[in-house]
């Protein structure tokens, strides 16, 4: 049975992530946001501690833990900086199809060397014409002997310019729609791979987001995950599994905004009283807390299902949708509690609000999540 409570090890893990976030991420978050530069040394530090590659089996150099544990870490790191954490979760996203479908040989050849060094991976799915509509991927994979020749452009790729390894969704024939998709693992230094300019984003500005371009890139057939035509199912299963982490990141951002609002409301005085003495503020804080707590439980449920090999499309879509929409609402309310001070960059809440917006868009928009949920409700 699903149990949302934490064991001693879970608490120790959460404490480690919180400690790491407070010492390593919080001090640089505002600056990384301002200059839009990825703080690479964080990857090295997180790798040394084991805060990345958590869900990769131990024998291949990962943490050997579940999504439940990964979500505990996600909340803590995102509470410090969602932009930094997005690069971690994007890497987990790229590694997840390997966890699901890679052969022992592929794990040995691709995963093991990847995990041995501080490195990030990147999931190349979105294209100029394909986002929510995964089956309309246009990047071509044409079989040529023992390799596929890849041609196409991927857009809005998190870690695009810093990843060591890409997991690329391509099509054997666009006419085949979802039946034509294949997933290929492509090292980023493969001949023919190039990256576009870094996107200037509204929020999560530390994360490196850009186009990745494949021009006659030869990807060995032995780097294909699953069979030809299994790509679509693999992408969907991957997105199902990873949604809980993104939802956990949203809980982290919401929690950080709530904590900031509570603190500030006790310090800020108007009409000779702290604004926390006004019910208009109190109720706002209460509503924020309700959303944080509820979202966290939904996250744990979705992650628990994934860890137990149970299908969680419905639950993870609910968790992701609710947590991301809540984060947007909570951070907007936090800015309101701060008033004018919330709108300037001297305080952290405007960053939370900018960061939260992306949570409603990437890894499946809130609309796509509602589509998944309603299809489950209405099927047969």
């Amino acid at each position: 049975m699903f149990n949302p409570s934490l064991s001693d090890e879970h608490k120790a893990l959460r404490e480690l992530a919180r400690h790491f976030a407070r010492n390593e991420i919080t001090p640089i978050a505002a600056e990384a946001d301002r200059v839009e530069e990825y703080p690479w040394e964080l990857v090295e530090k997180a790798h040394a501690v084991g805060l990345i590659n958590i869900t990769v089996p131990e024998e291949y150099g990962g943490g050997g833990l579940g999504y439940f544990e990964d979500c505990l870490v996600a909340e803590e790191l995102s509470a410090a900086c969602a932009g930094v954490y997005s690069s971690f979760v994007a890497s987990t996203l790229a590694l997840t199809p390997l966890n699901i479908a890679a052969t022992p040989d592929q794990m040995e050849r691709l995963m093991k060397p990847f995990c041995a060094q501080p490195a990030l991976a990147s999931f190349c799915l979105t294209e100029p014409g394909a986002g929510s509509d995964v089956a309309s991927v246009r990047t071509r994979a044409k079989r040529d002997g023992d390799a596929y020749v890849l041609n196409g452009t991927k857009r809005f790729i998190t870690n695009g310019g810093v990843a060591k390894m890409y997991t690329v969704t391509a099509t054997l024939d666009p006419e085949l729609r979802h039946k034509g998709l294949v997933l290929l693992v492509v090292p980023s230094d493969s001949p023919g791979v190039s990256v576009g300019k870094k996107e200037e984003k509204m929020g999560q500005r530390a994360a490196d987001t850009r186009e990745v371009i494949f021009e006659d890139v030869r990807a060995p057939v032995e780097n294909r995950l699953g069979e030809e035509g299994e790509g679509f199912g693999l992408v969907m299963e991957t997105l199902d599994r990873i949604r809980a982490e993104v939802a956990a990141a949203a809980v982290g951002v919401g929690r950080a905004a709530l904590q900031a609002a509570v603190q500030y409301s006790k310090e800020r005085e108007q009409f000779s009283e702290p604004i926390s003495s006004f019910q208009a503020i109190q109720f706002k804080l209460a509503d924020m807390a309700i959303k944080v707590e509820a979202a966290r439980l939904l996250v744990r449920q979705a992650a628990w299902l994934a860890d137990h090999g149970l299908r969680n499309s419905y639950e993870s879509a609910i968790a992701k949708c609710f947590a991301a929409d809540s984060a947007m609402q909570i951070t907007t309310d936090a800015v309101q509690v701060f008033g004018g001070y919330g709108y300037i960059r001297d305080y952290p809440v405007e960053k939370y609000m900018r960061d939260a917006k992306l949570l409603q868009i990437y890894e499946g928009t809130s609309e796509i999540q509602r589509l998944v949920i309603s299809r489950w409700l209405l099927k047969s």
Partner: protein
């Protein structure tokens, strides 16, 4: 080389300290490993890594919750931990605490002992030194740099003294108390945290280490805490803006008679 590290669980420095009826109220306190003990653990780990061999054993006396401090130390990389747990130990002052630790250490074959220079809760800064006396071995306190001789039979330590550093050499075994600056403690690792689950932390009680119940605990205390008070709330500043010469005299008087800092 067997390195024994004495660890204390203390209130998190970020915990809000409450006082109730003239004593500390710990009902809502969050506990952590004493930060100075973290330097001690880190130094032990580094010595072991440098030598490529050795064993690190953590020892703590404290209530049941002190086990969490030992687990934290194991998660960082210590090999074993022993919890000195007995109702008779509760309320021990620094002397009794050192006595308990010394009795436990006499059962261990140690080459070196580390303590934090002081606990950040009551700041006695005595246990490590008394422990060395009871074990009849040398100690070097407030150490910021440590080097072991090639034959592993002595250490040279830099210790903080007023206005500078004293460099001291002593044969081993010895007690070293760690000061900030000795090293930069590492994070626990996820692997370490998960490995703790499989480790058993033995509990040694008064009878097992050969301590008479009345030699330790509240009854034996050589120090009694009479009252604990919080620092007074910070008051607003005072402005002197009349005649500068007269103001200076007033301020000097206040600094001497009221603030008592002149």
């Amino acid at each position: 080389m067997h390195i024994v590290i004495c660890v204390k669980q203390v209130p998190d420095t970020e915990t809000k300290i409450r006082v109730k009826d003239g004593q500390l109220d710990h009902s809502e306190t969050k506990y952590v490993v004493n930060p100075y003990d973290e330097y001690a653990i880190e130094e032990g780990l580094r010595i072991k890594e440098r030598l490529g061999e050795g064993k690190i054993t953590l020892v703590s006396t404290g209530p049941e919750r002190a086990k969490d401090a030992l687990k934290s130390g194991l998660a960082v990389g210590a090999d074993e931990a022993i919890h000195l747990l007995d109702e008779a130990f509760e309320g021990s002052d620094p002397y009794a605490t050192a006595l308990i630790l010394s009795k436990a250490l006499q059962k261990l074959d140690y080459d070196m002992v580390f303590c934090g220079k002081q606990g950040v809760d009551e700041d006695h800064a005595q246990v490590g030194i008394i422990l060395a006396e009871l074990l009849d071995i040398p100690h070097i306190s407030v150490v910021t740099k440590l080097e072991i001789s090639d034959d592993l039979r002595s250490v040279v330590a830099h210790r903080e003294v007023e206005g500078g550093h004293a460099v001291v050499e002593t044969p081993l075994p010895a007690v070293i108390t760690a000061q900030k600056g000795l090293n930069e403690p590492r994070y626990a690792s996820i692997k370490g945290i998960m490995a703790v689950k499989k480790k058993v932390i033995p509990e040694w009680n008064a009878a097992e280490i050969g301590v008479e119940g009345d030699a330790v605990g509240v009854e034996s205390a050589k120090i009694t805490s009479i009252e604990v008070t919080l620092p007074p709330d910070r008051a607003g500043g005072r402005v002197f803006d009349e005649d500068p010469a007269q103001d200076a005299v007033k301020v000097a008087h206040l600094l001497r008679d009221e603030a008592k800092i002149l």
